[in-house]
Structure formats: structure tokens, C-alpha cells
Amino acid sequence: MKMFSRLDQYRGAVPFPHWVSRIAVTTCIDQLRAQRRRPELRHADLSENEAEALDRVTADEGAAPNDAMAARELVERLLGQLKPADRLVIQLLDLDGKSIAEISGLTGWNQTLIKVRAHRARRKLQVLFSKLKQQEGS
């Protein structure tokens, strides 16, 4: 709807797919910002499969989770704790497998900003893993 209503604003300065993707990105970020801030993730909130996936990835031997669906659900929970822009970057970079240049083309952000956001998101994820591990032990 947004794209349709803004068609008269398209001036051809950038390729049409880029223009569409930037509207989509902006809309998604606005939607995430409008959502109510989610409460802090606790280990007790995890399902049995998610807790098992968490145990496997945080174990010393570093085994991958067997249940891919549980891993995805856990990823969604963790991403929900990030800021919308950081979440978008880490989603595109680590889950969708896009390059920094591709993300820059999609979002219009410069590559340095994307790297900073990715670094900040991963650091936040490490903190979350540590907290969940501590809560599991307690």
C-alpha cells in the first residue's frame, strides 16, 4: 500500500527494486518500533526444545542443535530482544546470508554503519546467551 501510494514520488534516481526494498525496510522498522517493547527473555520462558537447543549451542563442545525448528524459534526470541535496525542487519547478514554490500543496497545505509550494527547486535546476543546460561544454572 505504501509503495502504491508513493509511486508518484519515484524519480528514477535509483533502480526500481532498490526503491521498493527501501520502502519495505522502512516500513518493517517502523512496525517493529511501533510494537510494544518485549519483556526481558528468561530461561523459564523457553520451551523444552528451545532450552535443549540453547544447551547444545552454549555447551563447551559446541555441538549444533538437532532440531532446526527449535533453533529458529530460539533465534526469533533472541532477535526480539534487539533494536529493530540491529535486528534487521543481523537477520539479513547471518540468517539470509546477504553480504554487507547487498544490505547496503537494500537499506541505503553505508557499509560502516552496517558493520557497527552487526557488531553491536552480536555483542548483545552474547550477553543474552550468558544471561540465559546463568539462569539455567541457578
Partner: protein
């Protein structure tokens, strides 16, 4: 992101999960887009477009009125000329159309060649149009 990073292992496992996100348009989306498109068509035209349209219509009306006046003024004279003008006749030998009552037309049969060299001379003048044409060309 090192290989022992729990996030990396979790993301790799999550990537193996089938994407179950619903990508279909929400119910009523097409109707909303169509409604917006129709609403956009009903928007009033700009001042420039409105002015151009009115000026074009006025010019068209003036041109039509002038055409009617000119036709009305010239019709009696044109009708009189058409009724008085004699029908043109093809001269038989000279190749120049002449009125039927002119001296040239009266003398034309006498000027026609009567030699035996031309096969067209065998035919009587005025009987065969093709023969007349051949005589004119020669």
C-alpha cells in the same frame, strides 16, 4: 564471529529450518489497493490542466463556428458556379479539352489524321476511348 560463537551455530541450525513465514497478501489487500487507485483517479485536475482544457474547448468551438459561417456565406456562389459550368469534353485530336460549341471542337474531326500508317486511324473518332487516347499521345 569465531567458530565457537553460540550465535553462529544457532544461526546455522536455524537456516536449515524451512521458512514457514506467510508471504501471501492479507485478506482485502487487493480491494484496498483498488480503492486507493480509484480514489486517486477522482482527484481534481491541476490548475494548468484545467486551464488548458478550457482553452482547448473554446478554441474548438470558435473554429467550428467559423467553419459554419464560411460554409453558409460561400454556399450560394458555389452552387451557382456548379450549375452554370459546362461539362468538359475530350478533344479528339488536339489533346486540349474544349467546350462543345467552340470552333476548335468543331474543327477537330477535320484535323484528325486519316493515314493508313496508324492502326488507330481505322476507328472512327469518338467511338473507342483507347483509340482516342493513342491519337492524343501520338
Amino acid at each position: 564471529m569465531n567458530s565457537n560463537d553460540p550465535w553462529r551455530r544457532l544461526a546455522e541450525a536455524a537456516r536449515r529450518a524451512p521458512d514457514s513465514r506467510d508471504v501471501t497478501a492479507p485478506h482485502g489487500f487487493a480491494a484496498r489497493v483498488a480503492a486507493r487507485a480509484l480514489a486517486a483517479d477522482r482527484r481534481p485536475p491541476s490548475f494548468l490542466a484545467h486551464f488548458s482544457l478550457r482553452a482547448s474547448l473554446r478554441a474548438l468551438g470558435a473554429a467550428a463556428a467559423l467553419a459554419v459561417i464560411a460554409a453558409g456565406a460561400g454556399y450560394p456562389a458555389a452552387l451557382r458556379l456548379l450549375s452554370e459550368a459546362p461539362a468538359p469534353e475530350l478533344s479528339l485530336a488536339g489533346g486540349i479539352p474544349a467546350p462543345a460549341n467552340s470552333p476548335a471542337a468543331a474543327a477537330a474531326p477535320a484535323q484528325a489524321p486519316a493515314g493508313a500508317e496508324s492502326p488507330a486511324a481505322d476507328a472512327a473518332p469518338g467511338e473507342d476511348p483507347v483509340t482516342d487516347l493513342v491519337n492524343i499521345v501520338s
